[in-house]
């Protein structure tokens, strides 16, 4: 029980840290990192609750996390590409 609370708690802390960083920082890269940390927190939480109970762990959350990682990396790639586009325009000015 303690271990789950430990890992789950870490997930929640990661999420909150991400939110904090997202709100406080302006730069795109930092926001993107913040979002990824947030996402990692949620995924971490999922994996922590999957491990609850006896082995083997619940595969459903694992699959969800896999899907989530793909989604997160897609969004990150798009966001960074858009950011680059903006910077290019600024540089061209």
């Amino acid at each position: 029980m303690t271990a789950h609370l430990l890992y789950g708690g870490a997930g929640i802390l990661l999420f909150v840290l991400g939110v904090w960083s997202f709100l406080v920082h302006e730069a795109l890269l930092r926001k993107v990192i913040a979002l990824n940390v947030m996402g990692s927190g949620v995924f971490h939480l999922l994996i922590a609750i999957a491990e609850r109970g006896s082995l083997p762990p619940d595969p459903v959350p694992h699959a969800l996390v896999l899907t989530g990682i793909v989604v997160a990396v897609s969004a990150t790639a798009l966001a960074l590409a858009m950011g680059r586009r903006l910077e290019d325009e600024d540089d061209a000015r």
Binding site: T2, A3, L6, Y7, A10, L13, L14, L17, G18, W20, S21, H25, E26, A27, L28, L29, R30, V32, I33, A34, N36, V37, S40, F43, H44, I47, A48, A50, E51, L55, P56, P57, H62, V65, L66, I69, V73, T76, A77, L80, G83, R84, E87, D90
Partner: protein, 94 residues
């Protein structure tokens, strides 16, 4: 054994959190990204510990591969812009 495991978990988790905080708070973009990559790797480690090797594989592959490379590219640009004075330290456009 359980005590050791608990200690192990504690170190694992606290390192993870420290890495996250480092990634989130360092103002220099490339440093932040490197911390973030390290964080990703560490996360994979933790997930491997938690019995989720599938996910650990994916996180390692993405975190160190595409995700890291993408962010490093962005960080390099951000660092150049910071140096050129186009943005201030927080990244806000001047």
């Amino acid at each position: 054994m359980t005590v050791l495991l608990l200690l192990f978990d504690l170190v694992l988790v606290s390192t993870l959190l420290v890495l996250a905080i480092a990634a989130l708070t360092s103002p220099e973009p490339r440093r932040a990204v490197m911390f973030f990559i390290a964080f990703g790797l560490w996360l994979a480690l933790v997930w491997a510990r938690l019995g989720a090797p599938d996910v650990a594989l994916a996180e390692a592959a993405i975190g160190a591969g595409l995700g890291g490379a993408l962010m490093l590219a962005a960080a390099r640009r951000a660092a150049r812009r910071q140096r050129e004075g186009k943005v201030d330290r927080d990244g806000e456009a001047t």
